[in-house]
Amino acid sequence: MDDDLNVQTWLDKYGDYLYSYAFLKVKDRHIAEDMVQETLFAAIAAKNTFSGQSTIRTWLTGILKHKIIDHFRRQSRVTAIGDLVDQDDEDNLDYFFRNSGSWIEKPESFPSPESALQQQQFQTIFQRCLSGLKTRQAEIFLAREVHEMNNEEICKHFSITTTNAWVLLHRARLALIRCLKIHWIDR
């Protein structure tokens, strides 16, 4: 069978991505796992309708988005649906830089990544910092750093411009570093 259309390969290739996408929205491990399964079930049923117009990842994410919306509807968590709207908020870099362009809080050096990874606490703090990002920033950061998508893939997948991608990644990185500084370094 053509690899591109083999559902089992989709689970290996895109399972983690779909899971992290769902987890960011529903914040529950079991529900997120179920959603990955439901998405792949739906994908089997709709396989013939995949037009090849988009990438498989984008197509699967589209199916997953509907599952997430259904989930919130069932829970009638109206407010949560607001979270699903992709807001590119107007917050800017003023939080980090003065008008003159100098740092408000000068970056200090961090311990080595190796030593951080040896601390159990670090992993918990890092995940909490990630979950605390604005949804859009977290999605893009995860796509880039965890799932190692390149800029071109990110722009296509999220339908954003290159400049948008730079800005979102930069903000996400600044926010994560700030969060780690407060909750990990200065603790």
Partner: protein, 81 residues
Amino acid sequence: MLNCKQASQLASRLMDEELPFWEKFSLKMHLFLCRSCSNFSRQLDFLRKVSRHDENMPDFQLTDEAKQRIANALIDKQRSN
């Protein structure tokens, strides 16, 4: 001469793509002279390393058990179709 805000933007971009020659050159100059921004640039490397470290992201990856369970469910589903 770049200010720190501009330099930090370029340093972040450099994590994702090659920069044009002059932008890269002015960034390197800035990093050479500015301790804060060179710390920031090392923090970016830090983020990349900890993010790409496999066991670091249980919240953002399917567990092996979940993967297996879904794989089995998919096989059942495809058989019944």
